[in-house]
Assembly symmetry: C2
């Protein structure tokens, strides 16, 4: 029996709603995954994350491998048991973190040699090692190690990334030792349409249980990203989940939902929350701005989150001015609930065949 089951429920043009069954529970798609880089969604308890409507949480194998170590987590019963998030989880293999965080990373066909961003230790991650780590962590969905490139990138390097990522997908598959975890492949190819095609077709041929679009939102801009995402999603099988990695702003998410993506992750709601920026259907507002000092309204009128039900803009502004942690908590919570509502709205709009109108409404607030 496969680790996950995915079924499409309804469609609206290329968009679809679906259901993803995992060993730790079911998730309705399209879904937005809060990012719990170090095994915790920053500032929030699992109970608070759950209250935002999130169904599946992401954690970064790269960070957890370095601290506290995958063996430690395995000995504590695996990621779900250890982190207190008892629902579905996905771990990122670390390809993107190696590309963006590690010092002096050197990529070869063997894998990636790098220095820990925590203590400078020399480390090496091969595709096999990335899977071994994720097998120890025990998330429901695990990601292949991929060879990430930035933007712009020369064609020869994008070609290398596509071929290496394909070879690594095979090695990850061969090294994968647990049948209760689904291994997803990652399409690379930068902004070269033919390379994206080559990458997608190669991976699809491996018949993996799901596919991700990687290497986007790395500086190429909204228009080009949208083009690449649309073209890539079209190449991926209908019957399997499609995960757009690291995206993004509400309008970018809905663009990709319209193009048929099912899963998303991004630090945008939580990072903005910690900086005092709140998402609303009127756009982003900076809660610590002085116009709000005596504002008795909630962050966002009509929002049903704990922050909006119990606290005013005046109070939350005070928390930020006074350096109180509850401020970070409340705006992070609200922002994740905003994304939760965004996805609930998207699923409802798809079911009702009116996703275009919904996109237009959200896009207006975020200039999308």
């Amino acid at each position: 029996m496969p680790a996950i089951e995915f079924s499409v429920a309804t469609t609206d043009a290329r968009a679809r709603t679906g259901r993803l069954k995992t060993p730790h529970g079911e998730v309705e798609t399209p879904t937005f995954m809060p990012v719990g880089t170090q095994g915790t969604v920053k500032c929030l308890s699992p109970e608070q994350v759950r209250s935002t409507g999130a169904g599946i949480v992401l954690a970064n194998a790269y960070h957890l491998m370095i601290r506290p170590g995958a063996q430690t987590i395995a000995q504590c019963g695996g990621l779900q048991e250890w982190s207190g998030w008892r629902g579905p989880m996905l771990t990122d293999s670390g390809g993107y973190q190696l590309f963006s965080l590690a010092e002096l990373a050197e990529v070869s066909d063997e894998g990636v040699r790098f220095r820990s961003h925590v203590d400078g230790t020399n480390l090496f991650v091969s595709p096999e090692e990335a899977i071994k780590v994720q097998n120890l962590l025990g998330a429901d969905i695990i990601m292949q190690l991929d060879d990430c490139v930035g933007f712009p990138v020369e064609r020869y390097r994008a070609e290398e990334s596509v071929r290496r990522t394909y070879a690594w997908a095979r090695r990850c598959r061969d090294g994968h030792a647990r049948d209760d975890q689904a291994l997803f492949g990652i399409v690379q190819g930068s902004t070269y349409a033919d390379l994206r095609r080559e990458s997608a077709l190669g991976l699809v041929d491996l018949d993996m249980p799901g596919y991700a679009v990687g290497g986007v939102s790395v500086g190429e801009g909204t228009a080009l990203m949208r083009e690449v995402v649309e073209a890539t999603l079209e190449l991926l099988p209908e019957g399997k989940p499609r995960y757009l990695m690291g995206v993004g702003l509400p309008s970018d998410v809905l663009d990709a939902v319209a193009a048929g993506a099912d899963m998303f992750d991004c630090v945008v709601p939580t990072r903005n929350g910690r900086n005092g920026w709140a998402f609303t259907l009127e756009g982003l507002i900076k809660v610590k701005n002085s116009p709000y000092s005596r504002d008795r309204g909630p962050i966002e009128e009509g929002c049903d989150c704990y922050a909006c039900r119990g606290f005013t803009r005046s109070y939350i502004r005070h928390l930020f001015k006074a350096g109180e942690i509850l401020g970070l908590v409340l705006v992070s919570l609200h922002n994740l609930r905003f994304y939760g509502r965004l996805m609930e709205g998207a699923r409802e709009a798809i079911r009702d065949g009116r996703l275009e109108a919904y996109r237009a409404r959200v896009g207006a607030a975020f200039g999308g």
Copy 2:
């Protein structure tokens, strides 16, 4: 009708259980009040504070007067409405903060001239002003402005403090404009038994709705503190709540409960929590110590708090090592629940006439 009603339910030697009715709800005594200095119990939501069994929360008029200002809070419906803690609250007048925090404070019979610890502004607080601020904030129990002294202090200064605190109590009473707030007097007198007596008898003569023991836990040590607290509590009326300010460690709290105190506040549980020190019936443990790296047990076996029900020492240690805010939240929450259980245990022990045995058990863990 008085703002509060207090009744003693059961007694065990000089200890007693009671019930305190306030406009925002009832509290069982003895009770420990979590400290919400800036209108928030650090790191925790009101919902989380409530879950620890806390019935009444303290906020500091001094801090709130400076930021965001009492008018702002009044315009937002008062402290309870504004802070989201919809239960009973008490505000400290600021006497102790002026003594400990403000730069260049100058005390005279008129009041206290000082510079804001936030922006250096020159400010002046008289007894009338301290009450005006607290009338605007709207807590159920408010405190007179008192003239705090440290330890050791020369007799002439302690005498001055007692006489000034008495004069200020009268001025606070005369300035007090709301009958839905109970104004408590504060006994001073340092460690001089006759001055404590003079202070207590003077205030009792004013027939205030409750009395606090101030000016303890300022460096005089446990033995001397206990002596002063016992002697002072004995002078206070049976039928009114007795509040021991700024105390303390579990064994100090139980000593004072045995001597007849009903209310307590202290930053110890939350400040220790943020530093990774957890209270348990085995004593304080430092959760980020390495022996706990693979410890699958909760912070404290048998504790029913959210942190202990859902998370291991291994995970909480990781949160501290990784600098994640959830670590501060979980240990703060546990520590307040520890104090919540401590007080529940004390009330039960008083009802069963076995407070001495209970004190001995807790004292053993904390060297009391």
